[in-house]
């Protein structure tokens, strides 16, 4: 096991996985919330756009989304999202496009988790909100969404766990995270293959297990009593 750490920069790989997970989770949550608002809102055209987005993205393989992000949006269309003068420009581009792809993809799942949360809020809550004079946006912000998020914690936990494991797809565009290190190690140190797989499985377990347990207990704690 020690040899792996001596030969490869394991910690850097782990750290990259964590960075990808955190940034993607953040953006997916923001984008997914916007999509959910579009889908539950009263504006027909936004309903259509929101549901088209979810249905297209959710049914496209993540590998395709991530590859498309860097090669088509980044390379072919020349959209740059990293600092061009940075000495690590190419690496940064790959990392950011990976975060972009992961966020765009998981936003569809966040949207659906939130929508299931919205469905836990009785219609009467929104009616009461409207009847005291709150507008659509206000009743969403103060009444419906706070309850929807509480009802969506458990399904959001599943999305978070899936997202963390899905960061391994970033290998396809050369982002040096955990599965990239794994591929290298398999090639150069096949003698350590048992240790390698154990190490990586443990690493993911160490992040996802607490998140699962933590969010499940949180979902119980914040559940709205009716």
């Amino acid at each position: 096991m020690r040899e792996l750490f001596e030969q490869f920069d394991v910690w850097a790989a782990f750290w990259m996985t964590i960075k990808l997970s955190l940034w993607s989770a953040l953006w997916a949550l923001v984008l997914g919330t916007l999509l959910a608002i579009m889908r539950v809102g009263p504006v027909r055209i936004l309903n259509v756009v929101g549901s088209a987005y979810v249905n297209v993205v959710r049914n496209t393989p993540l590998t395709l989304v991530v590859l498309f992000s860097l090669t088509v949006l980044g390379t072919r269309l020349g959209i740059q999202i990293a600092d061009q003068n940075s000495p690590t420009f190419l690496t940064d581009e790959a990392v950011r496009w990976a975060i972009f792809g992961l966020s765009v993809y998981h936003a569809a799942f966040v949207c659906e988790a939130l929508r299931s949360g919205v469905n836990t809020v009785p219609v009467g809550q929104a009616e009461a909100a409207r009847s005291i004079g709150l507008g659509f946006g206000q009743s969403l912000r103060h009444i419906v969404l706070p309850q929807a998020f509480r009802g969506a914690v458990a399904p959001l936990a599943s999305v978070a766990i899936a997202l963390i494991k899905n960061t391994t797809v970033a290998t396809i565009i050369g982002v040096a995270q955990t599965s990239y290190f794994m591929a290298e190690a398999i090639e150069f140190r096949p003698d350590l293959i048992w240790e390698l797989f154990a190490l990586i499985a443990l690493f993911f377990l160490a992040i996802t297990l607490p998140i699962g347990v933590g969010l499940t207990s949180l979902s119980r704690k914040v559940a709205v009593k009716r």
Binding site: Q125, E127, I132, G133, V224
Partner: protein, 246 residues
């Protein structure tokens, strides 16, 4: 008579093929308490909900304080803030405390400062008799207490009129009176009220007028005493016969 506060003129409403409100005409004066009764499915709840446009109507007009109900949007939200609504299922905001339930509207809709809103909320909770529950959440209160909070929540907006949609129908029998007492007190204070209810005692005690609905139509309108002792229509006689014999 003073300018009417609520005017329904030729209101029709359909649920698909079902004609639930048939050419409804109703005028309510300021300070008047109108009780709407009738068998289930007669359209009385729909009528109540249509007045603050929780139900849309297909034809006719509804006018509140001289202003016709606008389309969904800012103007409607402003108008709704002047129309209190009490629901059968209470519909207190489940994730907010009792105090927050009452202060939310004044703070977010009227722009009242927190301290002022809380002061007023406490007075109102005192008035409906649940002041000591202010820090609790709705699920911790009994049905009767929740409904009284719902009334306080509406009153916090200083409404011109209060709508009650079967406010005691979801309550255990021993809690009905605590809610009716608050409503009677409200009626005596001069509040304009439209009350959909089965509570004949309340109608006798507090109503100026009883509107009897059946099959989506207003069949009969009379003063309570007159209506209960000497109903004119066959439908009303039949209905009263069924509920008053026990």
């Amino acid at each position: 008579m003073a300018e009417p506060l609520v005017v329904l003129d030729g209101v029709n409403k359909y649920f698909g093929d079902l004609h639930v409100l048939k050419d409804i005409n109703l005028t309510v004066a300021p300070g008047e308490v109108v009780v709407v009764i009738g068998p289930s499915g007669s359209g009385k709840s729909t009528l109540c909900r249509a007045i603050n446009r929780l139900e849309t109507i297909e034809s006719g007009t509804i006018t509140i304080d001289g202003e016709e109900l606008p389309q969904e949007g800012k103007a409607l939200a402003r108008l709704r803030s002047d129309v209190g609504m009490v629901f059968q299922a209470f519909n207190l905001f489940a994730h907010k405390t009792i105090l927050q339930n009452v202060t939310l509207g004044p703070m977010k809709v009227r722009g009242v400062k927190k301290a002022g809103a809380q002061q007023r909320a406490k007075e109102l909770l005192e008035r409906v008799g649940v002041a000591h529950q202010a820090a609790k959440y709705p699920a911790q209160l009994s049905g009767g207490q929740q409904q009284r909070v719902a009334i306080a929540r509406s009153l916090a907006m200083d409404p011109k009129i209060m709508l009650f949609d079967e406010p005691t129908s979801a309550l255990d029998p021993e809690m009905i009176n605590e809610v009716l007492d608050v409503m009677v007190e409200l009626a005596e204070s001069g509040m304009t009220m439209i009350v959909v209810t089965h509570e004949m005692g309340f109608a006798r005690k507090a109503a100026h007028r009883v509107v009897f609905m059946a099959d989506g139509e207003i069949v009969e309108t009379a003063e309570p005493e007159e209506f209960f002792t000497n109903p004119q229509s066959e439908r009303a006689k039949d209905f009263l016969g069924k509920i008053l014999t026990h």
